[in-house]
């Protein structure tokens, strides 16, 4: 025995040394990669992400170096992925919900200030130059400048430092009577008339701005060019902007610098606006109307869907439940078909079939009864269409799960009921249905939750339409919360994306869906089971 053990021990020691080497190599590689990423994130101003990754690095380092951390090594990547892509987005949603993040407020304050501080203006008085314009073959401009007070001459090009240059310098031709060079290499001189008529010229900033001691020059009038000056001065202490040209003072008002008389400085930036997004639902009539409609439909649509698909599914399961029913297998297989095709595809097929003008359904209806509903433009018909398509999509699943559950109902219960003189309906009411509901109840709740967020159906089939008249946002009669969020954030139809508002609605959705799922857990005793398994 002891002899037999020896080689095994040696083997396992060698193995653990190998795994130690692998572990150390892995840790070095992981730390190097992660720290590089954190550095990149930090230096570009993404502090939240840097912190998030920092937490993961510390977590990895602890569990991969301490012996006690061994079990956690097995789940390290899983937990890290959940943290970054599930948990963090939940908190990030909460954060965005309290901001005005969206069109007009897309930047951070730091990014916005960089742009604002780059703004310049052309002072009415100040240092001025005589100018002559040159233009290259590919449409680039250059200015020859003569300082009016000192007579010094310069060559200025856009986005290049202004150079003190004299006629006769390399690449510059000899001067004419006015002291302006006849030619500049690569450019042709524009005559005064042509230059004065040029529409582009007055908008071009010559020279390189942004750094100390550098300045830009812009054409002010046909015979004068002037140095541009920084327009806004930012006072960090007071958090105000002062316009150097007008003396107007701007204050940070919910993510945009605004003066007391209501003028603003673009661009705006992301700012905390408290509960405003939430309060907007209740106070803004243009928002409240649609959101109430959407909420009601959001509860009704999955309810009718679950009830209708369950009813059809159970009926089929019971009708063809007998072991020796002819063609049973074939019937079931054919009825399963809607379930086997990716729903995006079949929803789009239905979209074509229910097209009001050209769709096959309406062509048949028109031929048979002479009239057909406008599925896409009439709210009630649009809702009915959505429910029909969802019945088609959903009944095979219900058929599958209920026929499974039917097998588990003991047959002697039916025999006892028959002896008591119960008819088929009574048997169904008091035996089949209650037992089925217990067996598939959790799946019905899951199906309700799934349809509560059935973005694919609503968006792909009808885009949430038809539009609700008078809504200030893109809201439609078949929209549910998730499709409304999508439209607010990604398909504003020219009304400006509203990430803040969309996230506030997401928070409402979190609460509703979370409550339903927790209810489902209670139903299934999942929660208690975890504790018992411990």
């Amino acid at each position: 025995m002891a002899l037999a053990d020896k080689p095994k021990d040696a083997h396992s020691i060698a193995e653990s040394q190998l795994s130690k080497i692998i572990r150390v190599v892995f840790m070095i590689a992981f730390n190097a990669g992660a720290l590089w990423f954190i550095y990149q994130a930090y230096s570009k101003g993404f502090y939240q992400i840097a912190i998030l990754l920092g937490i993961i690095v510390v977590f990895f380092d602890v569990i991969f170096s301490l012996k006690k951390g061994y079990p956690f090594r097995w789940m390290a990547f899983g937990l890290a992925f959940m943290l970054v892509f599930v948990i963090y987005p939940i908190f990030f949603t909460l954060y965005i919900a309290f901001t005005n993040y969206g069109d007009g407020h897309l930047l951070t304050k730091e990014q916005a200030l960089v742009q604002i501080e780059n703004a310049t203006y052309l002072p009415a008085t100040g240092k001025s130059y005589d100018w002559t314009a040159f233009k290259s073959d590919n449409g680039e401009y250059a200015l020859w400048l003569t300082d009016r007070s000192t007579g010094e001459t310069f060559l200025a090009k856009p986005d290049e430092e202004i150079q003190a240059t004299k006629p006769g310098d390399p690449g510059v031709g000899e001067a004419d009577a006015k002291g302006v060079p006849q030619s500049i290499e690569g450019y042709t001189r524009l005559n005064t008339l042509l230059a004065a008529a040029d529409k582009q010229l007055p908008n071009i900033k010559f020279g390189l701005a942004g750094e100390e001691g550098l300045s830009t020059v812009q054409v002010r009038s046909p015979n004068e060019a002037a140095e541009l000056q920084i327009r806004y001065l930012y006072d960090k202490e007071a958090d105000t902007l002062t316009d150097q040209e007008t003396g107007r003072v701007y204050y940070d008002k919910e993510g945009i610098f605004t003066s007391t008389d209501g003028r603003t400085v673009q661009p705006g930036f992301r700012a905390n606006i408290g509960w405003k997004n939430f309060i907007n639902f209740f106070t803004s009539p243009a928002l409240r109307g649609p959101i109430v409609r959407i909420l009601i439909w959001n509860f009704i649509f999955p309810l009718i869907s679950v009830v209708s698909t369950f009813a059809l599914g159970v009926s089929i399961a019971i009708m063809y439940n007998e072991k020796d029913f002819p063609l049973k297998k074939l019937i079931r297989t054919l009825l399963l078909i809607p379930y086997t095709i990716p729903s995006v595809i079949t929803i789009l097929i239905w979209r074509g079939m229910l097209n009001s003008e050209f769709g096959v359904i309406n062509r048949i209806l028109n031929a048979v009864i002479g009239t057909a509903p406008r599925w896409t433009t009439e709210p009630i018909w649009a809702q009915i269409a959505v429910l029909i398509v969802n019945l088609w999509l959903g009944f095979p699943y219900m058929m599958l799960i209920t026929s499974g559950a039917l097998q588990s109902i003991p047959t002697d219960m039916y025999e006892a009921a028959t002896i008591d003189g119960a008819n088929s309906w009574q048997k169904f009411r008091s035996i089949t249905l209650p037992l089925l509901l217990v067996a598939v109840g959790p799946l019905l709740i899951a199906s309700y939750v799934f349809n509560f967020n059935n973005f694919g159906l609503i968006y792909l089939f009808i885009g949430g339409g038809p539009a609700i008249v008078g809504a200030s946002t893109q809201a439609g009669h078949t929209d549910i919360l998730i499709s409304y969020i999508y439209k607010l954030a990604f398909e504003s139809g020219g009304r400006g994306v509203q990430y803040g508002l969309a996230s506030a609605i997401s928070v409402v959705l979190f609460i509703l869906v979370g409550a339903m799922t927790l209810f489902q857990y209670r139903f299934t005793n999942m929660w208690e089971e975890v504790s018992e398994n411990a």
Partner: protein, 301 residues
């Protein structure tokens, strides 16, 4: 007396025959409802006119022109280049990679939860369950902003990259798959581990040599279901990808509906059919296993 029972039996037989006949007729109607859209899609794909308005169940102008159009072999087709095969390839790539990575990661995590005993095990399991109540589809805007920020840090994992999309899919499937795989691992008797432990095997050896082979059949089914689920996703792919050569098939098919859907109907149907058939075949071959997996508690996405 004996005559009476014979009459009764034959009337029961008769009424049963009637009931079967009625149920068969109902079955016929139900089957018509179930397969009509599919037949309509097949017929549209072979209708050379490519038009929604003139299509009939038996195409008047039958042929494979729509399939040629998918290869961009029809000079008269006026809706620009179709990158159909690129989309199909993208879909297979994204779903394949995220399924394999996600299941490798979650199976290992599930092993720890099922077989190792450590402090915090139950609380972590409960937390995962709690977090699953808030699927990442609901934090759509934040996920979009997160991936967009990632792209500003390292452009290879930002918006409009498959790597970014794959990571989001992986993150979203973690909780559910950990629970699923833990459930399957729990059904494997512990006696198998104990015999391994007596032989001095490390937890990794037990996992790799003893448990993984037993898990292989169920891993196969779960990975196929996971692949199909990702393959059929629309929302996340739509939000995170914006370049038509990066689209997955479902996003690509959706853009057929933008503007004059009725004039591109046949090409769309041909593309939809090619995208659907492999999935249908998988379902029919694995019907029994999939039904088993369904009642374990997952809803089709």
């Amino acid at each position: 007396m004996p005559d009476n029972t014979v009459i009764k039996k034959s009337s029961i037989k008769k009424s049963r025959r009637w009931s079967v006949a009625i149920r068969l007729i109902v079955a016929l109607l139900l089957i018509a409802f179930a397969i009509f859209p599919v037949l309509w899609m097949i017929s549209a794909s072979f209708d050379n006119s490519n038009s929604l308005a003139t299509q009939s169940l038996i195409p008047a102008n039958a042929g494979i022109a729509n399939y040629k159009r998918l290869f961009n072999k029809d000079p008269n087709f006026s809706f620009g280049e179709i990158k159909y095969w690129q989309w199909l390839l993208n879909s297979i790539k994204v779903s394949g990679i995220s399924t394999i990575l996600s299941l490798s990661i979650t199976t290992m995590a599930a092993f720890a939860f099922s077989r190792l005993r450590f402090k915090g095990r139950v609380s972590i399991l409960k937390s995962i369950l709690l977090i699953q109540a808030f699927p990442n589809l609901l934090s759509l805007v934040a996920t979009f902003a997160l991936v967009s920020n990632f792209g500003n840090i390292v452009s290879a994992i930002g918006l409009n990259t498959h790597a970014g999309l794959i990571m989001v899919y992986m993150g979203g499937s973690m909780g559910m798959n950990i629970w699923l795989m833990k459930g399957y691992l729990d059904t494997i008797p512990r006696a198998i581990d104990e015999s391994g432990m007596l032989d001095g095997a490390s937890p990794f050896e037990i996992f790799w040599h003893l448990l993984l082979p037993l898990l292989r059949p169920i891993l196969f089914v779960v990975s196929i279901l996971s692949f199909i689920g990702t393959y059929g996703d629309f929302l996340l792919a739509r939000v995170l990808l914006n370049d038509s050569s990066k689209y997955t098939l479902m996003v690509g098919l959706q853009i057929f509906t933008a503007g004059q859907f009725d004039k591109k109907w046949g090409v769309f149907a041909a593309g939809a059919l090619i995208g659907a058939v492999p999935i249908m075949l998988i379902y029919f071959f694995l019907q029994d296993q999939i039904v088993g997996g369904l009642t374990a508690g997952s809803v089709k996405g």
